[in-house]
Each structure stands twice: as C-alpha cells, then as structure tokens.
Amino acid sequence: MAIVSMKKLQICAMKKNRKAVLEMLQSMGVVEIETESPEEGVFKKMNTTTPRTQLDKHVQNTDNALEILNTYVPEKKGFLSSLEGKREITKDEIDRINKIHHQVNRKVYKILDIEKEINACDADIAKFEASIEELVPWLNMDIPINTVETKKTKVFIGSVGPEYTEESIYEALETKVPDLSGYTVQVISRDKDATCIVCFCINEEAEDFSDALRSIGYTRISSFSHRTPADRIQKFRNEIAEREEKKKEAISKLEEFNEERKNLEILSDYYTIRSDKYKVLGGLLQSESTFLITGYIPARDEERITKALNEKFDLLLEITDVPEDETPPIGLSNNKFFSAGEGVLTSFGLPGKKEFDPTAAMTICYIILFGLMLSDAAYGFIVFLACFIVLNKYKKMGEGLKKTLSLFMYCGLSTLFWGVLFGGYFGDLVTVVSRVFFHKEVTIKPLWFAPLDDPMKMLIVSLCIGLLHLFFGLALKGYMCIRDKDFVGLISDVVSWFMLIIGLVMMLMPTTLFESISSMSFSFSPMVKNISYGLAIGGAVIIFLMSGRSNKNPVVRLALGLYDLYNITGWLSDLLSYSRLLALGLATGVIAQVINQMGSMMGDSVFGVIVFILVFIIGHTFNMAINLLGAYVHTCRLQYVEFFGKFYEGGGREFTPFMEKTKYVEIKEKN
C-alpha cells in the first residue's frame, strides 16, 4: 500500500554519447524523461521529425507485411493464444537484426509488392466477371459482336426496353415507317432489364430504319469485339483462370516468407524502439557539445542507474529529492495480492499529490462486495478455477490482464464463501435434481440464512455492510488528516460525522419503524439514549460551526456549515445504494432457480435428463455471464462513488518511464 517514492534526476553529458546514454536508459526502462522543457540560451532542441517519420513508416510497412502474411499464410494458433504474451528474445537477437535490418526491410517491400500483385489480380477478376455478366444475355447470338453490315444489308445489334417482344417491335416499326419492307428483327433474349435484338435491313432503307429503331429506344451494344459473345465469354473465362493461377502463385511466394515472420516481428519492434528514442532525443536540450536530461526516477532504482551510467560514460549525474512545487508522476507498488486491484484504481484515477494509495483497502472491499453480489458457491468456484487455470497456464501474459484475472480469482473465492453462507449452488440445483430425478428431497442448508426466504434480513445485512464500508472510507480520510497532522480537520470533518451518524443510527434502532423492518427489537437504557442524542447533536454542532472554516466571513461560514449538514441526505442515499447487494444477490439466485425449474419440466425420463442438461449448460452460462457483468459494474460503482466519495479524489499522473515499448517480442537482459 504505497506510492513509489520518486526522485528527480538530472544528467549532463557529452553530446557524442547522447545516443548511447539514451539507449542505456531505454533498455533499463526506469526513468521518465521530461521532453517539454522550453529552450533557453545555448540550449536548443534538435529536430528529429525526419528520421522519426521514416522509422514510423518502416514500422507501419512491417506491420502491414505481417498482416498480409497472417491473411494469406495464417499461422496455426490455439484458442487462447492471445493470452500467451510476447515471445522472449535476447539482446543478441536485436543486435543481429540491427546488422541486417536493411536486408529484412527489403523483404518487407517484397511482401508488400506481392500483395499489390494479388490485389491487381483480384481487381482484374472482378472486372472480367462484370464483363461476362454483360454478355450473358447475348450468348445465343452466333455472329461477331462488331458486325455492322453484310454485302447487301446493314446489321443492328443492340437492346430496347424490356417491355418489347418481337411482335410488338414489328408493330411499332410498322406504325413509324409503314413504307419500309426490307428488314427483319430477331430477339436474342429478354429479361427484366432489356430486350436484346439483332436486326438486318437492306442498305437502301437502312437510314430510315435506323431512325425508327432509335425512336423506340434502341441503343447499340456497348462492347466491341470481333468475336461472337460465346467466344468472348470463353476468352474472359480464360483470363480469369489465368489471374487465379497468378494469384495462387503469388500466395505460394508469400509462403516462402513464412519463416521470416519471426524476423519481421523483431524488425517492427526494433524500428519502434528507435523511433521512440528519436522522439525523446527531439525533446532534449542540447548545447554545442553537451546535452541535458531531466526526469523522474523511483528511489529504489537510484543506485542501479548511478552505477550503470558512471561505469560506462563520463557524465554529471544528479539525483535529488523532488522539489516542493513539482508534482512527480505516480507509480503504484503493492504486494502480489493487493496489486490485483490496481487496474480498478487506475481506471478511476491515480492518487493526487497529497493523497495515499488506497489500492489495498479498495481491493479487500472489492473482493468482499463482489462475492456478495454474485453469491453462488458454484459460480464462484467456476470463476476461481477458470482464472486459476489460465493464470497458471499462460504465465507470460500482459501485466494488466494478469492483475485483472487474479482479482477475479480472489473474487471467485469470495463468491464461493458467500455462496456457502447463503446456500446457493447453481441456485437450488441440488434440491431440484434430487426431487425430480431421485424422488427424494435433499437440500443443502445455508450456513447462515437464505436471502430469498428472508429478504428483509438480507437488506439489513446489506445496509450494515454498506455502513461499515462508508465508515471505513471516512476512517481513511481520518488517517490522512492524522498523517498530515491536521487535527482540526480530523475533528471537524471526520470525527463529527462519525458522531452524527452513529448517534442517528442509535436513535433509530429502538424505534418501531426499525423493528418492523428488521424484526429485531432493541431497548436502550435512558443512559444510552442520552449518549445517542449527545453524539448526534454534538456531531451536528461541530459540522455546523467548523465545516465552513476556510471562509473568514462568519455568516457565510455558518451558511456553509448548514449546507454541509444537508449532506446527511447524501449519506442516506449512499447507504441505500448498498441495497443493490441484496437486489443483485437475489437476481443471481432467482434466475438460477428459473433455469433449474425450466430444465426439470420434462420430468424424470431419458429425454427429461437430456433436456435438463442442455438447459442447465446454456442457462447457467448465460446467468453467470450476465451476473458477472452486473457484479463487476456495481462493485466498481460502490467503490468509485460511495467509497472514494468519502476520501479520495485521484488526479495523479501515471509514471511512464522511457523504455522499450514493444508489440511482438520482449527483450530479455543478458544475465
């Protein structure tokens, strides 16, 4: 439960070493380098845009090439291969690629060229297919397409509107040009788009005939060829086959590059690392012969980096405490168990400057509340088992995913715990199965009580847990006050609220209202009653007087105090919000029961058992998925809104050290 303590680092060294120094810092990956400092005096920044753009382009090309390989020559991968994490390589591998990166890069271009070839083939094929489509209606015509005349006639090949048949064309022509006689019209085909026709007309009458034909909407066929349509289609088919062949050849050429895949992956990361280096280099202040690096470094790495740098270079290295007016970046450091919750915290916000790291406190609450919401022993065990197996099988998965999965593994255990307390095992599976298939009612008794039988009790339990959770948050605020020695704040913002809320709760407990809800009756002695009045009134008075203490004007101060007192409604709504523990817990249980009931409807027979198993698998998978989602979302909400609302604001900046950020491989230091 801690924030990594940061130190400020300043390096001044000879310019000739700048790349070597940066490379060393990059491979150690523990320094966050400041790149936004303004230029001043002799210190100028260097423009590194050109090499960076170049390198970024290389990265993009290499990634494209890998993508192409994956499309055409896919690698066999397991179902969960995305969990396997990055492949580990040694430093030597990177050095090897460094020497031959031009050669490997040429292969990238070759792959890109082959893809262009494939794309060209695809485009041609599409074009030819479209042309074939156009010619299909003409298939029955056995003269060349570009025929325009015979010895004594003119030939018209083309189409008219789909409404025309051979007779109606003759009729139409008859009315337009009744004195013509030397022509024939033949319909080749007719579909919903057009009627394809071939007409012959003797040379002397051709002109009039042509006009008449045009007036009924005739257009000439658009393709030109000295072949008949059938021949031409055949020719296109041949072309397509040829392109397919060519494409196949290109793909088989790609297969030869399959072995290069590993090199390409390293190459992409190699270029990325170099590009990052240039990016930082462009942000450094440099004079004619020296350069400056300023940045932050975790205190625990101070010695290691001092030793490494001084051993190799002549430079001035200064590591100091972070000055008061600067806000250092935040790194979290928790033990293995608590670090599971870091992801949840980070998505809310890292601790601000004056705050502490609440990960440990939050993780525990998260696990408890999550279990309460899911609250089915069998579901909990499945979640636990699934996370446990994946975590152990894929040890190299990414850090963030690992944390999330361990969190859910613990949440699964907690669900198991609450499930046993509340007696939920796939809902009431045991009862239903024993009743329907074995004709003997067997029930696993809950260790504590079944919420469905006594929802009021569960509501009280939920609200009590909520009150504890909120008090815990308030106590953490008190911890911060004590840490900062702000005792006035402790009394007026923390103790006062404790007094007021505890007083109010004690006043509520003996009332009939509370008794009717919880069916528990308390009777306090007058002494205890007086104490509760005292606590509530005392707390309220402190809040009224002290809450607006930052304001000098006494009237405004009291007004602010009064307003803060109004926050009691906030406490009420926060507390009621925990009723979702009951609602979500019941939702899991009741839907599970519905599923069991549906499954058992077919009764005790072979068919019934099959139906039951099917409904069981589908139904419970669905129920578990939807309730896992619900538990995840609402636990987050209880943490973020209710719990953090009491003491935590966040707003810290994440520590992002200058390091080798890779996509495919992980570089192992030589030992």
């Binding site: 979500l584 939807i626 909400r637």
Partner: protein
C-alpha cells in the same frame, strides 16, 4: 380462477413486459452505437459490449419480480391460488414499481450508455469513468426492484 388471480397474473406480466421493453430499447440503441465504434476500432469490442449490456439488467429485474409473483400465486407450481380481488390488486400494485421504472430507466440508461460508448471511442483509457454514468441510472431501477420484491414477498396469500 378468480378475478384476483387474473389481476395478480397481469401484475407479473407487466413487470416482465414493461421492464423488458425498456431493456430491449436501451440495449438496442447502445448496440447501434457500439457497432459504430467496433467498425472503426475492433479492439474496443469488449469495452463497448460491457457498456451495451448495462441497460439489459432492467429486463432481468422484471423477470425476477415476475417470477417471484408467479410462484407467490402458485401458477408456477401448477395450482393457482384463489386470490380475492384485493389480494390480486395488491400483487398488481407491488409489481408496478419495477414495471414502470424498469421501462423508463432502461430506455434512459440506454441513451446514457450511448454517450458512454462515445467516451470509449474517443478515450478508451477512460472506460472506468464511462461505465459510471449509465450505472448511475440503474440505481433507480434497483430501488424499484427492491420495493417490488419486498412488497410481493410481504403480501399474505
């Protein structure tokens, strides 16, 4: 079959129907927005899926109350109780909170989820905060669910 039983059945149906309608609408609009995001950036699939599913819970709450009501009036067991008119009306009234609030909050949570999906599209790392806004709307569905459950449970049959 008495009029009371019919009214109680109507209540159970309304809880399922109205809350389900709210969820169906909410999940649908959120799903449309989510599809847009995934078409641009398939990596965000898991995040937007979670956001899309958030308005889906009202339907489940409705089912929950519907189921409790059905088992209360004995329809699930196959032997419906002969309810008096008053008791039937009471069950109907008890089902109304989750029915109406489920419809309204499901619809509106869907709209909020659409905006939250917008956040994820622009700033995927702000997912935690984006998730909170639709979750806020759900609070009222949960409160309604609570009252419905307690009321149905408390009615003597």
């Amino acid at each position: 079959m008495t009029m009371g039983t019919v009214l109680a059945l109507l209540g159970a149906s309304l809880a399922v129907i109205l809350a389900g309608m709210g969820s169906a609408f909410g999940v649908a609009v959120a799903g449309q927005a989510a599809s847009g995001v995934v078409s641009e950036d398939p990596n965000q699939f898991a995040k937007v899926l979670i956001l899309q599913l958030l308005p889906g819970t009202q339907g489940i709450y409705g089912l929950l109350v519907g189921f409790i009501a059905l088992s209360k009036i004995g329809i699930l067991g196959g032997s419906p109780a002969e309810l008096s008119l008053q008791t039937g009306l009471m069950v109907l009234a008890a089902c109304l909170p989750i029915a109406v609030v489920g419809l309204v909050s499901g619809r509106n949570q869907g709209k909020t989820a659409v905006s939250a999906i917008g956040i994820v599209a622009k700033k995927p790392d702000q997912f935690g905060k984006a998730m909170l806004f639709p979750a806020m709307v759900e609070t009222y569905a949960i409160l309604a669910l609570l009252v419905s459950i307690l009321a149905v449970n408390g009615i003597p049959v």
